[in-house]
Symmetry: C2
């Protein structure tokens, strides 16, 4: 855990995890109802029976509060190590396929993230960066074990392949990217281009 994350943890000690969860639920409900632009800290305070002072003390800004609320319902992949790249990819498929996908709340935030740089940064830090780190450590271990070749051209696109697999299926096949589909995709596309030939 970074020094910044520790400091953040210390600032939050006054809220119980239950209370924090209730607050995040209120934020996500409001996002679905009114969208990001119309969501106010006043409305969050009223809905969650807290004070604006508490909200600002804990999260500093609306973008950071919203990013934390989205992260809370989709906790970052914890690191895991099955001992092989194939095993790690299958475990990744299982975890990502089973993760709850709240499309409505992400769609409520997306237009604002496109216009608002602070929000885009907070979302990237809360949702994307932790998953990039998990994928990078998976690839590093595969290289250390000699399964994958260091610096192979496809490696920089590992996160793009995984993220793309999740996003493309609803558009193309009009159904969710479940664990079975992800495992087939990772076996057919991702494993072959990552491993040493």
């Amino acid at each position: 855990m970074s020094a910044a994350a520790n400091a953040e943890g210390a600032r939050r000690t006054r809220l119980t995890p239950e209370r924090e969860g209730e607050l995040y639920t209120a934020v996500r409900d409001l996002l679905r109802e009114v969208g990001y632009d119309a969501l106010t800290m006043d409305a969050v305070a009223a809905r969650s029976r807290s004070s604006k002072a508490t909200l600002y003390r804990q999260w500093q800004s609306k973008p950071r509060l919203v990013a934390a609320a989205l992260r809370h319902q989709r906790p970052p992949l914890n690191r895991f190590d099955t001992g092989s790249l194939r095993g790690d990819l299958h475990e990744l498929a299982r975890r990502m396929g089973e993760a709850k996908k709240d499309v409505a709340v992400m769609q409520a935030v997306a237009p604002a993230a496109h216009k608002n740089k602070d929000l885009a940064e907070a979302l990237h830090e809360a949702l994307i960066q932790p998953e990039l780190e998990v994928l990078q450590s998976m690839l590093d271990r595969a290289v250390a074990r000699g399964e994958a070749e260091a610096g192979a051209p496809a490696h920089e696109f590992f996160p793009h392949m995984v993220t793309g697999a999740l996003m493309a299926r609803p558009l193309i096949e009009r159904c969710e990217a479940d664990a079975t589909y992800l495992k087939r995709y990772l076996d057919a596309v991702v494993l072959p281009v990552l491993v040493r030939n």
Copy 2:
């Protein structure tokens, strides 16, 4: 061109292409301003100085009108044939990288498409299906030339790889999927898994 597309063309002969373009622009402007749910055929008629009767005669329904308006600004990839899979992929990267990406209007429609089956179907038919056909014909030619092996496991994911590459970069790198990035991705990931080893 299919029989359905011919019939559609015949129904539209009363509008000049310029007039049709103005109508589509009005639809897209309204989508950005009020979103899909609040967009009414009355508002489109007023904004485009046409009548609701004209709109319904030409497009039958709001989902079909909206799908046509989105398709108009992003015409489907025309088929092309450079004579090799590598050449076709590079041409694909160039065309997709240079295509105008109106993120705001797509984001205005996405939440409604998630809830509204008629809209989802109209969008799939207008925007996704034509591109799937272009990709399939590209792959069929590669198989016919012996560059790719018929039935290889990665083939069914060709559209997912291409769509995913477009969608993943803004999330991960926070910049658009331009032609240079797409060419690198297609060379590093897509070409190797499609071709015969």
